[in-house]
């Protein structure tokens, strides 16, 4: 049995740190783990996607349409873009934050309205204002750890294991902030 998670967002939102943290948690649980990401263009505000897969034995590093058990989305438009990758019965955990893409900034297209409502009619969705919670924790940069907190509630892994992975992944001077961000996400 392989479990597939997709982390999607906008370049610069900290999705790579989130996937690294998740990877560390899963390895500590003794799973075979594969992570896949695409570098390069994604550093410049493009759409980014990271695949995290774990189980007894993982083959393909990528997640295909209809295969994701969870999608952890950092931006609501990206949730709409990637929803087809969610399997039947899968869960979408999404930030409600909006970041305008270039075609919207230039006025060529409009940012779609009512995405959360539409997605909720399609799948099991939990929408969270992760930016607000991150600011509450002390920094808007902690959006990624807030969202990891949201995901942690859904997974059968003890809270201590998550906190230990956070200790191992984030710089010491930001540890308390990140722990707070994690808890706010976990309780959301």
């Amino acid at each position: 049995m392989t479990t597939s998670i997709m982390i999607v967002g906008v370049g610069g939102q900290g999705t790579l740190l989130a996937s690294k943290l998740l990877g560390n948690v899963l390895i500590a649980q003794g799973y075979d783990v594969k992570l896949s990401e695409v570098h390069g263009m994604s550093q410049r505000g493009g759409s980014v996607v990271t695949y995290v897969k774990y189980g007894d034995k993982v083959y393909s590093p990528i997640v295909d349409q209809g295969e994701a058990d969870y999608i952890l989305s950092f931006e609501i438009l990206e949730s709409a873009r990637w929803i087809s990758y969610l399997k039947e019965g899968g869960v979408l955990l999404t930030n409600t934050q909006k970041t305008w893409p270039m075609p919207v900034i230039t006025g060529a297209m409009e940012y779609p309205e009512g995405i959360v409502e539409k997605l909720s009619a399609m799948a099991d969705v939990q929408a969270v204002d992760a930016l607000k919670l991150a600011e509450q924790a002390g920094s808007p940069k902690a959006v990624n750890v807030v969202l990891i907190g949201v995901l942690s509630r859904r997974m059968d892994i003890p809270e201590e294991a998550w906190l230990k992975a956070i200790e191992e992944t984030v710089p010491a001077k930001f540890l308390e902030l990140n722990k707070k961000a994690f808890r706010l996400g976990r309780e959301a």
């Binding site: 783990v33 992570l35 695409v38 410049r44 590093p61 209809g66 990206e78 709409a80 039947e88």
Partner: protein, 465 residues
């Protein structure tokens, strides 16, 4: 100890463990992190070269000096390095020489999706292809053994999904390799016609020996399962096959040049349908057909374009796909844009307002072609802006030349633009060239790969990790 490692990080680990001493590369997605990671090992001398040709020549020189040496490049980088490497195939090596070429099926960050396996065939070089990070490490070691045993540069082929995926890798100790003494041998190392004629004989003997090796090497392996379908595959496609058809029989090829014949024929005889799964060109499939081995499905099912995936393999073979629901409204795209604060933004805004013809180059200038800048007329390959501006303005004359500029970045200029400028001077060109110096190799993730600036690869790597 096991560690979650990026494919590129595992290649660097393989270099360390194999006793490699010398690395020279030019950055190119998806190969860049290999050299950055190799620079973190004190036992390895690692540097950025101005281009892939110089990197390859430097690695050949280090091999001549008796060191296990290495260079990495993206697939189009091999075009630049091809000149020294085709003849290094004739001269052979002293210390083992491994060249990594990273293909980019699907063109995540490239201008074409050429298939590097053709190079291994054309240059008569052995090529190994790992599927994941663990194999990246293992196959680097295997490539050094092949290089030294068969007196040849060996090529390690990766692709974006191998280079930028992570899996657990067991760490081993370094196998320190003493420098092999250099012995003067002009008949081997001076590629003049009289010598090269004899060396070509050795190259053909070597290929014959490698074909025999391909029949028995553990790099190729059979996993027998259900015999209704047998897959012949390699690299990342092996993982997609295992994901889509975990029960099927598979012949996994780790040595992709030269390919075995008898081993594939034996496998084909044991299965009802033989399906060849490979991204890009039908290199394995053509090998089978040429050797009279039946193929029941290959490029006719999968085509020549982009990446494969488990679902693409399921679809091609008529298997059920996982159910899913797509968002039923158009979702605006999110293309990458230039970094905030990059000086190129202002320049492209001006060029666009002036409505100039802009012959662009490789790098972030491709980002100047999209909305809202819409400033670039052409992008071809590293350094091409200058040569193209020369030919364009020679044909259209001074009036057109006043409305035409070549635009090239500092790293690309050092890579292969500079010879174009020599040509402008020699052939009395009327072209205008703008060298945009932002003091960084930006597109590949901010390497300092311009000889006129800043710290070298080793210093940079230590700074950024």
């Amino acid at each position: 100890m096991k560690k979650l490692m990026l494919g590129n990080q595992a290649v660097a680990r393989g270099l360390y463990e194999a006793g490699c001493r010398f690395v020279s590369s030019y950055p190119g997605t998806p190969s860049t992190e290999i050299t950055e990671q190799a620079a973190l090992y004190d036992e390895i001398y690692a540097e950025w070269a101005p281009n892939e040709k110089v990197a390859a020549e430097s690695a050949v020189g280090a091999s001549l000096a008796g060191a296990r040496s290495f260079c990495a490049m993206k697939h189009v980088g091999f075009n630049v390095a091809a000149d020294p490497l085709f003849t290094a195939s004739y001269t052979g090596v002293n210390g083992g020489l491994v060249v990594c070429v990273a293909d980019d099926p699907g063109m995540h960050s490239s201008q074409n999706e050429q298939d590097s396996r053709h190079y291994a065939i054309a240059a008569k070089l052995p090529m190994v292809e790992p599927s994941d990070s663990r194999e990246c490490r293992d196959f680097v070691k295997a490539a050094y053994e092949i290089s030294e045993r068969f007196d040849t540069p060996a090529v390690l082929r990766t692709c974006t999904r191998v280079a930028h995926s992570q899996c657990l890798v067991e760490l081993h100790a370094r196998d320190e390799q003493a420098l092999k003494p250099y012995e003067r041998n002009p008949q081997k190392y001076v590629a003049a016609p009289a010598n090269a004629v004899k060396r070509h004989v050795e190259v053909e003997k070597r290929m014959e020996a490698l074909r025999t090796f391909a029949e028995t090497t553990e790099l190729n392996r059979v996993e027998m399962g259900d015999t209704a379908i047998g897959f012949v595959t390699s690299g990342t496609c092996y993982l997609y096959v295992k994901e889509a058809f975990p029960e099927a029989s598979v012949l996994k090829l780790g040595l992709v040049n030269p390919l075995p014949v008898k081993r594939i024929a034996d496998f084909a005889a044991k299965v009802e349908r033989l399906i060849v799964v490979e991204e890009l060109d039908g290199v394995i499939e053509e090998h089978l057909r040429r050797n009279g081995i039946r193929v029941d499905g290959g490029k006719d099912l999968f085509g020549y374009l982009g990446e494969l995936s488990q679902n693409k393999i399921r679809v091609a073979l008529g298997a059920a796909l996982p159910a899913y629901k797509a968002y039923d409204e158009t979702v605006p795209g999110r293309p990458p844009v230039m970094c905030p604060g990059c000086p190129h933004r202002g320049l492209f805004t001006v060029l666009s307002k002036l409505k100039l013809t802009v012959l662009g180059d490789i790098g972030c200038y491709t980002l100047g072609s999209g909305a809202p800048l819409n400033a670039v007329d052409s992008v071809l390959c590293m350094g091409a802006s200058i040569g193209m501006a020369h030919g364009y303005t020679k044909m259209l004359g001074e009036e057109a030349a006043q409305h035409t500029v070549a635009v090239i970045g500092d790293s690309t200029f050092m890579h292969s633009g500079i010879t174009g400028v020599v040509n402008l001077a020699y052939n009395k060109s009327i072209a205008t060239v703008l060298v945009l110096d932002n003091s960084i190799t930006g597109m590949t993730g901010h390497q300092q790969a311009e000889p006129h600036h800043g710290p070298d690869a080793a210093e940079r790597a230590h700074l950024s990790y």
